[in-house]
Symmetry: C2
Subunit: 424 residues, 2 copies
C-alpha cells in the first residue's frame, strides 16, 4: 500500500454538527429514561424502533439498506467502483440497562453525518461507503458483548449465538426473528476494505489532558467468567452459623478477591463483578445458590493471564472456608488488539489536519472494531466524555467534541478511500 496524498478534503465539505446532535437527541427517545439516559437492550421493541429509524434515515440519504443473518445493518452509499469492497464506518445502537445517549450511538450517527457531508459536497468516493449498526455490542442482555461483529469476524459460531438465552430464558434467535431483523445475507460474507469507528472514550484520560481526539491504537485484553456458588437454603432464624452453607457469604468473599487481584496489578488492570443473582433471595433464608460474573482486563495479555491464575488459585480456598461449592466458566476471552498501523496513521493525519489536540490511546472497553480488526484494516477515534463516565444514564459529551470526532472520521475515511484503492 502506498501512502500517497488522498483526494483533498475540500473546503466545501464539512460535518453538519447540528444535524449530528439532532440525530443523537432524536434517537435517545427510543428507550429514553426519566433520568435522561437510554435503556435499549438488544432485540427489544426499542431496539427495533431505532433500527427502523436508522434504515429510514439512511434511505432518505440515498443509501441501500440491508441486514444480514445476525441483524447487523449496512447502509451503502455507492462509489465510483461498486466492485470494490466498501470503506466502512460502524458502531452500535443498543445500550446498557441504564446506559447513556452516546456509547455506540455516536459512532453510527457520525457515520450518517459523513454521508451527509459527502452528499452535500457531491463527492463521489472510489469505494462504496457503508455505515454499519452492529447487533448486541453491549452483551448486557445476551452474553458475550460484541456478539454479532464477533460472528461477522468468525470469532463466534452463528448457530451458537442464535441459541444464546437471556437471563429470562428467551432465545436470541427467536427475538431476532420477532423484531424482523434476521436477514438472508449470511453474516460475515460481506467483504470490507477498511473499518473506522468513532466512540466516546468511556474513561478519564482525554478530559484530564484537555484533548479532543484520541487516536486509538488498540484494545486491552479482557476475559469474562460466570461463577456459580452452591450452598444450601436454610432458615435464617434457626440455622447455627457453623452449620451454614451460605452461598452469598462465599460469593461476597470472592467479590473481594476479584477486587484485590486487580488492585495488585495496578495501575492498568481492572476487575469487576457487575452482575449477581442470589437464590432464593428472601430475607429469611440463608442463600443456597449465587450466580455472578467476573470481568478482568489489562492492556497486556500476560497480566490478564496472571490475574486469571491468581483467581483460579484463590477461589477454591475461599469456597472451602465458606463451606460452599463453586464452579467457574470462562465465557469470553478477548486478547489485546493492535489496530492497523496504516489506519492509525490515517486517523492521526486526519486529526492533525483538523487542528484538534490529539494523543494516541489504548481502549479500555472492547468495541466492535476489536473484532473487525481481524478481517479488515481497522482503527478507532475517541472523543472525551464528562468525568470519564459511561454505562451510566449521566453519560455526557459536548456537541463540539462530537462534531470534531465526526470531522476526523470524515477525513480518515476520505484518506482511506484514496489510499486503499491506490494500493488495491
Amino acid at each position: 500500500m502506498t501512502q500517497q496524498d488522498p483526494a483533498p478534503h475540500g473546503s466545501n465539505m464539512g460535518i453538519d454538527g447540528q444535524a449530528l446532535w439532532s440525530d443523537l437527541m432524536e434517537t435517545a427517545r427510543y428507550g429514553g429514561t426519566p433520568k435522561g439516559g437510554v435503556r435499549r437492550l438488544t432485540l427489544t421493541a426499542e431496539d427495533r424502533q431505532v433500527r427502523d429509524w436508522f434504515a429510514r434515515t439512511c434511505r432518505a440519504l440515498g443509501c441501500t439498506v440491508t441486514h444480514d443473518s445476525m441483524g447487523n445493518q449496512f447502509a451503502r452509499r455507492p462509489g465510483q467502483d461498486d466492485s470494490l469492497p466498501p470503506i466502512t464506518i460502524g458502531s452500535h445502537l443498543d445500550t446498557q440497562p441504564t446506559g447513556g445517549r452516546y456509547d455506540g450511538i455516536l459512532g453510527v450517527m457520525a457515520g450518517l453525518s459523513v454521508l451527509r457531508a459527502l452528499n452535500r459536497a457531491g463527492y463521489v468516493t472510489r469505494h462504496p461507503i457503508e455505515v454499519i449498526n452492529w447487533t448486541n455490542e453491549e452483551g448486557a442482555r445476551f452474553t458475550p458483548p460484541m456478539m454479532c461483529s464477533g460472528v461477522f469476524a468468525g470469532v463466534f459460531a452463528e448457530q451458537a449465538v442464535l441459541d444464546k438465552r437471556d437471563r429470562a430464558g428467551i432465545r436470541f434467535g427467536d427475538e431476532l426473528e420477532a423484531i424482523g431483523y434476521r436477514g438472508d445475507e449470511p453474516c460475515g460474507q460481506h467483504p470490507v476494505t477498511a473499518y473506522f469507528e468513532l466512540h466516546i472514550e468511556q474513561g478519564p484520560i482525554l478530559e484530564a489532558e484537555s484533548r479532543t481526539i484520541g487516536i486509538v491504537t488498540g484494545v486491552q485484553g479482557a476475559r469474562w467468567y460466570e461463577v456459580t456458588v452452591r450452598g444450601r437454603d436454610a432458615h435464617a432464624g434457626s440455622t447455627p452459623m457453623p452449620l451454614r452453607h451460605d452461598a452469598l457469604l462465599g460469593a461476597a468473599r470472592m467479590i473481594e478477591a476479584v477486587s484485590q487481584v486487580a488492585c495488585r496489578h495496578a495501575p492498568t488492570a481492572v476487575g469487576t463483578v457487575g452482575l449477581i443473582e442470589s437464590h432464593p433471595n428472601s430475607s429469611n433464608v440463608v442463600p443456597g445458590e449465587v450466580f455472578f460474573t467476573i470481568d478482568i482486563r489489562d492492556p497486556d495479555d500476560a497480566v490478564v493471564e496472571r490475574m486469571e491464575a491468581e483467581l483460579y488459585g484463590q477461589l477454591p480456598e475461599i469456597a472451602r472456608r465458606s463451606n460452599v461449592e463453586f464452579e467457574i466458566v470462562k465465557v469470553w476471552d478477548a486478547p489485546a488488539v493492535h489496530f492497523d498501523p496504516d489506519c492509525i496513521r490515517m486517523v492521526e493525519v486526519a486529526a492533525a489536519e483538523s487542528g484538534h489536540d490529539a494523543r494516541r490511546i489504548v481502549s479500555g472497553p472492547g468495541h466492535d472494531a476489536a473484532y473487525m480488526a481481524r478481517v479488515a484494516p481497522t482503527a478507532m477515534i475517541f472523543v472525551p466524555c464528562r468525568d470519564g463516565l459511561s454505562h451510566n444514564e449521566a453519560e455526557s459529551i459536548t456537541e463540539h467534541d462530537a462534531t470534531a470526532g465526526a470531522d476526523v472520521l470524515l477525513r480518515a475515511v476520505i484518506r482511506a478511500d484514496a489510499t486503499f484503492s491506490a494500493g488495491a
Copy 2:
C-alpha cells in the same frame, strides 16, 4: 386460673394420621415444584387455591369459615357456649419462594385433624374451636413476616400493611382484593381465649436428641434491616480501580461484617443477608446501587442490641473505605417472646400423656404465635424436621412425628378448653 383436671382424652379420640398426611400431600400440589417443594408466595394464585381448599374442607367438617380484613381465615367449630371466645389453633399456608411442604402448613392441617378427631368422637367442647390460616407469615413477598397476625395483635397498622409493595411494586391491598380475600370483619376484632400452634422445629435440636416433641417456651428476638449502598455506575473496562465507587464491593464487605458480628456472639446468635439486588446488574458495569437485607437474632434481647450496635459501628467505616454511601433502615424489631406459663404447662402435660419424648425449647424462627402471645395465652409445639432443614424444597418430616405433634395439640386444646372455661 385453676389447673383442674380437664375433660379426659377419651380412648376413642385420636388423630387420624393418614388423613393428616393426605391433607399435607394434597395441598402441596398448589405451587408444587419439580423438586418436591412448594412455591406459594402470599396472595398469589397458588395462595388463593390453597385458601379455597381450606375453606371448602373446613365447611365439609361442619365449620363456619370467615376471613377478616387482612385475609386471615377462621374456621369455627361450635362449642357448648358460643359466647365464649374460641380456643384457637393456627399457622400459615404461604411459603418461601423455594419452600417445603410443612413449614406453617403442618400447623393448619393439624388443626383440621383436631376437628376431625372431635367430630369422630362426637366431642363437644365448651368453647368454640377455631382453626386459623394467617396471611403472609413468611414475609418473603411483602415485608415484614408474620404480617397479618401482627395486624391482628395491633403490632402493625392495617393501612400501612395494605400499602406495602412487593419488589415488583405491586401493592398488598390490591393483591388481597384481587384474590378475593379482603373480608368485612376488621382484623383484630376477634376475641380469643387461647392460641396453640404446632410447627416443625426448623432447627437441628430435636432430631439430634431423638425427641419427638418440643415444648416451645418462647421465640428469640429478631431484627431486620434494609440496606441501600450507593456508588456510581461506570464502565467495567475503563474505570481505574482507585476511581471506582463500586456498590457491590461495598455490599460484599458488609455481608462479611454481618457474618462476623453473629459469629462473635456464638453459639446462639445468627446473622443473615438473605436478599440482594444489584443495579444495573450488567457484567460490563461497575454496580452503582445495591440493596440488601440483614436479619439478626438471639434469644437474649441484650445480645441483639449489642449486635445492632456493632453493625451500626462497622458499616460506616466499610462504606468509607469502599468509596460508597449507604443507608440502613430497621424494618422489623421483634423482641424475644415468652409464652404463657399455663399454656406451656398444658403442652407439657399433653406431651407426657402422649408418651412421646419431649423437651422445652426456644424457637429460632419467628411464628404467628409470637404476636398472638400479645393478645391471648399462647404456646407452641415443635416436631423435628430432617437435618433441621427448612425454607428449602428438601424440607422433610415423618408421618409419625406429624401425627404425634397433632396428638399433643389435640390434648393441649382439650385441656385448655376445660381449664380456661373453669377459670373464666
